[in-house]
Symmetry: none
Subunit: 532 residues, 2 copies
């Protein structure tokens, strides 16, 4: 029996953007789309072009090469034709492979929210799907509140789905919009729907309001649906959407699924899953969930006790899947061979080749463990990780040395009686035998002033760092043991468009920031092939 292909549809950039506290920039959106593309996701939904300038700009060009790029929008408004609907026009202008229309499938909503006759809603579905089909796009219909709608009025909910399918929609997606449906109901209802629409045209869109979004998605697939919608790390409004990271782990690693279902994520891509999950959190300045299935830092951690010795005897005694399959680590066994093979793969990924038997590998591992114990997180800071490895293997030139720095901030009334703030910094560096001292002021604060002073005069390296600029700065304070520790992540870019992230950790936010600044400059000098 050949495995049925399950299509993964990611809505991190659309439904996930509804998460409280999450704001994607245009650059963020591009990075996430590229990451999803590389991971083997089938569809990347980018947003709602026409609804806001950011999404319209994001759809000016296609950010994926393998994955289909999908645009989300409403079906046409009642009382006008699809051709005269500005929302549909905006969707058709977007550089999208697929167009996802959302339409109400619960009669109660058509009455209360739309306040139009039930039939008009069906006409809106049919004409919108046809218009997008005529424009040569793949089309999907998200049936909002499908399950509540089905329970209230199965005939009407089904008509919405069937109308879209008959109008040429490739996929009809059954949405549990308020997240209130439970796995056994999902299974029963999806099975019923497959009698009208073939399962390989059905998708599931689940929310986690009952803590069952993953189980609901799996129940729909068991009942015949062949597309799953979800988000990275379960981002999404309220309790979030179905977590695609968990679903990928389950579909790829659990035998009962692996035998019957296939997804576009290959074994090597699966090995990047932990990295992808944490990189998204770093970008959003969110603390990764340590307890996340498959990818959480604690997902394979055994606290000393009755299980630990059994895990050491044979990991299969307490592990349902091998942690390294998703690029994660077993924590009781971090220093053993499993830890080393992970590290070899991680180093390989950032361009440092070290054999498993190289004695320097153990020293890199020890240093990483020590730094992580202090609060460093290299998951989101490849450039600092690269420098750490290069330093230990003796390939990091000593470009410059910091002698001292000072930074001052002053807020006071100026001569006009206005409250104004000034920042000034002095940095003294040694480049070879040359001692250079620079001062800079900034309206942006002491970190910016330090950055400007540091980059003002690096002697013979100065010309190499002219194109360097800081594009993002993130700070997180957390408990490291008994004391608070500050972790700073700095993202830099240069004239070639290259981007890299560095990390600094200290009790002092300025120290932590300065470390990350120094790493960024050092990384740029390595990129330029500078020698000490």
């Amino acid at each position: 029996m050949s495995a049925a292909r399950i299509h993964l549809f990611d809505t991190t950039l659309r439904d996930g953007a509804q998460t409280t506290g999450v704001d994607f920039s245009l650059d963020d959106k591009r990075s996430v789309a590229a990451m999803l593309d590389k991971l083997g996701i089938d569809y990347v939904e980018g947003g709602y072009p026409g609804a806001n300038p950011l999404d319209t700009a994001f759809f000016a060009q296609k950010p994926t090469t393998q994955a289909k790029f999908a645009a989300f929008g409403m079906t046409k408004r009642a009382g006008r034709s699809a051709a005269n609907d500005p929302g549909i026009a905006a969707l058709l202008e977007a550089k999208a492979d697929a167009i996802v229309f959302v339409a109400k499938a619960w009669d109660y909503h058509v009455h209360v929210a739309l306040e139009i006759p039930l039939e008009d809603n069906l006409i809106g579905i049919a004409e919108s799907v046809e218009a997008a089909r005529a424009a040569g796009r793949e089309v999907m219909l998200d049936c909002e509140h499908f399950f509540d709608g089905y329970k209230a009025n199965p005939d009407y909910a089904l008509s919405c789905a069937r109308t879209a399918y008959e109008a040429g929609a490739r996929w009809v997606v059954l949405c549990d919009t308020n997240g209130g449906t439970l796995p056994d109901e999902i299974g029963t209802i999806v099975a019923e729907v497959t009698k009208t629409i073939p399962g390989d045209h059905l998708g599931i869109h689940a929310h986690d309001d009952c803590g069952c979004a993953v189980a609901n998605s799996l129940a729909a697939v068991e009942a015949g649906a062949r597309q799953i919608q979800g988000t990275l790390n379960g981002l999404g409004e309220r309790c979030g959407n179905a977590n695609l990271v968990t679903l990928i782990g389950a579909l790829k690693l659990k035998e009962r699924y692996r035998e019957r279902f296939a997804i576009g994520v290959g074994e090597a891509q699966l090995g990047e899953l932990t990295h992808v999950s944490r990189a998204l959190d770093e970008m959003l300045n969110r603390a990764p969930n340590r307890h996340a299935p498959f990818v959480g830092a604690s997902a394979f951690t055994t606290k000393a006790g009755i299980h630990a010795s059994a895990v050491l005897k044979d990991p299969r005694t307490y592990e349902h899947v091998p942690p390294e399959a998703t690029g994660n680590l077993r924590k009781v066994l971090i220093s053993d061979q499993g830890g080393k093979s992970n590290l070899v793969a991680e180093l390989e990924r950032i361009g440092v080749t070290l054999g498993r038997d190289d004695p320097r590998l153990g020293r890199v591992l020890d240093e990483v463990k020590e730094k992580e114990a202090q609060g460093y997180a290299f998951e989101g800071a490849d450039a600092s990780f690269f420098l750490l490895a290069k330093r230990i293997i003796g390939e990091l030139p000593a470009y410059f040395e910091i002698e001292r720095f000072t930074a001052n901030v002053e807020r006071r009334h100026n001569a006009l009686g206005e409250l104004v703030t000034f920042s000034e910094a002095i940095v003294k560096v040694k480049v070879g035998e040359e001692v250079l001292i620079s001062v800079a002021e900034s309206a942006l604060g002491p970190v910016n002033a330090l950055d400007l002073a540091l980059r003002k005069d690096l002697g013979r390296y100065q010309s190499l760092i002219e194109g360097l600029r800081l594009v993002d700065y993130k700070v997180r304070v957390f408990q490291g043991g008994t004391d608070a520790v500050t972790r700073v992540l700095i993202e830099s870019a240069d004239e070639t468009g290259a981007r890299w992230t560095t990390v600094g950790v200290s009790a002092n936010i300025i120290d932590a920031s300065f470390q990350a600044l120094v790493d960024s400059i050092t990384y740029k000098l390595m990129r330029e092939g500078a020698t000490a």
Copy 2:
């Protein structure tokens, strides 16, 4: 048809204590037990008396009045009688109503971990259960790895369960110890087991390694099991145990369960669920999960967009259960697109009553929009939003005024040649006619030094802010129009356990931080009812 009684068994203090980073003190254990007792939980498992002095001390007296207090331990060791087993002696000495034995139910584990004949394991189960029964205790058997065991050798797994049942165990608990089993398998296997052991003697103990612990527990109940084991907020080793908070929400509020199943948690107790969930996090100094089903701060939050207006028309349009049932709140996020009805509801939530026709409402809305255009985000900063509204409606006292501040950071070599960093800040404030100037130094950097200096002497308000402390500090830099803008969120707490978040925005990170600090102190003074 009368509803079947489902018994809730909480293992927060035993399995939950295995969570990375969680350490309960004796007082913590007593508080949690009291909280669970009040909530209507049937069994409170307190720990493993005999295994460590803390648990032994906790079992010196019973901490619950309604709930049965349960002690956990291993079955007797092979090669000695139950009467001569020190572990069993410690269990029988504990002031517990119920004794929970754990035994291996997977033949592979009996071979690899115990290294004893399969039959000896059954003898251990029978004799241990009988010994505890003879001592007048209610007895349960946790069948470790039951589902893996059942898949490998169903006869042996069932013999373990049957042996306990026939020896007089009140409950046989089927444990998915590594969390690797999926809902449909759980349903099928539990249904099979009910042919040997009646469902009202069967319990389920699920872990979240596949993100399905809640669904697995529900699947077991649907298949006939009548006891659910779990933890508050899903605490537990690795990815955690089944989240009892979510399960209580689902069993009490979802119609399909409420009709058929009854639990010991009444309506009034359900109304305390949000409080219980957050109180546990407070005790453990963990940030509550905003996205937790039923009880998370964002569980009923709608970000402005296509859903917000429908929620305001009729909450049932987008809410699967009413938030107030668990003591939670509905929240519609303030935003650029937010209209007046959003704002009235939001102000009501934070305790500011303004009628729709009040002219000040428009001024609040304009101010919110202007601030959001500058980069403020009030969705995560209720306290700053409260102050903004109070200021506009003329109810914000002018407690103090900042005259000026300075902050300095210096990194240099000390007399020992070590690189060290110092921060120092001076703040000058005017409280009424009194001018106060304070200085403070900090190892944590200029923001901390400013915070310390600002709170060092606020004159007549000083005694009111003694209990104030900063618990979190977050910084995000983003593009606001053409220039970079820094947004700082500060979370504060006080001696009553109250928490609030304030926001500051500026091109300068120190200014932004200072604004958020000033807002936090002002909010605390308002809470204290201080007058200007």
